[in-house]
């Protein structure tokens, strides 16, 4: 399991990173924790002639919990998310999801930026960020721009990020209400067979707002507006839950693979979404 040879770059600042990206175009890839990219390089499924290690760049490892928004630097690890008390108070769904990603060793290395920028449909953070209506900051030689998580994913490993851009931060509006990240996986360390991220608010017994996103059930994460719309204004009775699940099933497009046939994945997706909604509602 030896990757193909490559040139290693460890720039000290973002200008240095952008210079390498400018020079080598799509022959260069940035790496944060490397726990998605290195396995792909070892399998020779990713060909990376120029590897840019971001570890010395700095300025991307902070979690800032503000009054309206939360800003998470791209190099923040899953372990950092789990350990951050203020973040767990402000947006507990992040911790709940991070605890379900991979295993302890991988969570020390795996970063939020890598997880969202990679574009792997199996990654958990993209769907979660769509649920939370996060915005990604992309820095290129022309400066920075912002792209909504809900607009970022085009196909498996295809995103709105240009080859010469670096995803540097994720900004999340402070969530309110109940939350749940529910994930079905075959074993520790596995990607989801199906996962659902839900944030929900209520007024009395009536659902007033909800955001629902699904993971690993299409070649991109799926933000299902229709699944949410089926719940708003209801008391989350059985009919509303069934309508929401049906709407979600219309939006996903799972593939037949080693996690099961399409019918099974749709079944699991329905079970997982229902559990996530019920748990989020109980916390709202």
């Amino acid at each position: 399991m030896i990757p193909a040879a490559f040139e290693y770059h460890r720039p000290q600042d973002m200008d240095g990173v952008l210079a390498v990206l400018q020079e080598h175009g799509d022959d260069a890839r940035v790496m944060a924790g490397g726990h998605s990219l290195i396995p792909m390089m070892k399998l020779r499924m990713a060909d990376v002639p120029h590897l840019i290690d971001l570890q010395d760049v700095g300025g991307m490892s902070d979690i800032e919990v503000g009054t309206d928004t939360i800003r998470i630097g791209a190099m923040v690890t899953q372990a950092d998310i789990i350990d951050h008390a203020a973040l767990a108070g402000a947006a507990p769904i992040l911790r709940e999801a991070a605890l379900q990603i991979a295993d302890p060793q991988v969570r020390y290395m795996g970063t939020v930026g890598g997880n969202v920028a990679n574009g792997d449909p199996g990654n958990d953070m993209p769907g979660l960020m769509q649920c939370l209506d996060a915005t990604f900051t992309l820095v290129g030689s022309d400066g920075a721009r912002a792209v909504k998580a809900r607009d970022f994913y085009e196909a498996a490993y295809m995103t709105a990020r240009e080859d010469d851009e670096v995803l540097t931060a994720v900004t999340i509006p402070l969530p309110s209400g109940g939350y749940a990240y529910e994930k079905q996986k075959r074993k520790i360390g596995d990607y989801a067979t199906a996962a659902a991220a839900v944030q929900i608010t209520k007024n009395g017994d009536t659902c007033t707002s909800v955001a629902i996103a699904m993971t690993n059930l299409s070649d991109t994460p799926i933000y299902s507006e229709a699944a949410g719309a089926a719940l708003i204004g209801t008391t989350l009775d059985d009919a509303a839950l069934k309508a929401s699940v049906a709407a979600m099933l219309d939006d996903i497009d799972p593939a037949d693979d080693n996690r099961g046939p399409i019918a099974f994945k749709k079944h699991v997706a329905g079970v997982i979404l229902r559990r996530a909604i019920e748990r989020a509602w109980s916390r709202a």
Partner: protein, 164 residues
Amino acid sequence: MSNKMHIKLNVNGKDEEFLAEPRELLIYTLRERLNITGPHIGCETSHCGACTVTIDGKSVKACTMFAVQASGKSVTTIEGIGGPDALHPLQEAFKEHHGLQCGYCTPGMITRATKLLEEIPNPTEEEIRFGMAGNICRCTGYQNIVKSIQAAATEMSAAKEAAE
């Protein structure tokens, strides 16, 4: 094609300097270049944890890091935790409580467990199982691994109290 790079590591307290291709994975540096063969290669795909080492206070799978990434950092392997003449309490506990059968996963298990007990000195069984989830054992069924870590935690806490 690629140029060799000058890499500096501190491994178990000893400074090492060498030239290596960037694609050299840390596990091969340790085992084949430095002859530190405690960290094992089990799956080589980031799943099994047999290659676990500690780098700057984090448990890391050495099959999923290039040596050049670790350049400038401190690496601790099972050899740096304890040896035949002075076993670490975890090593002693794995021996006493049959925390191993074939022993292949054991260096990774114990290396990971040192870090777990740093973070949670007196873990519950659930915390042990969750904190050790990145290490796979195909012999023991984990029961005696959990017992060993619990026993070591008790021993280490008692020793710490006695010292204070």
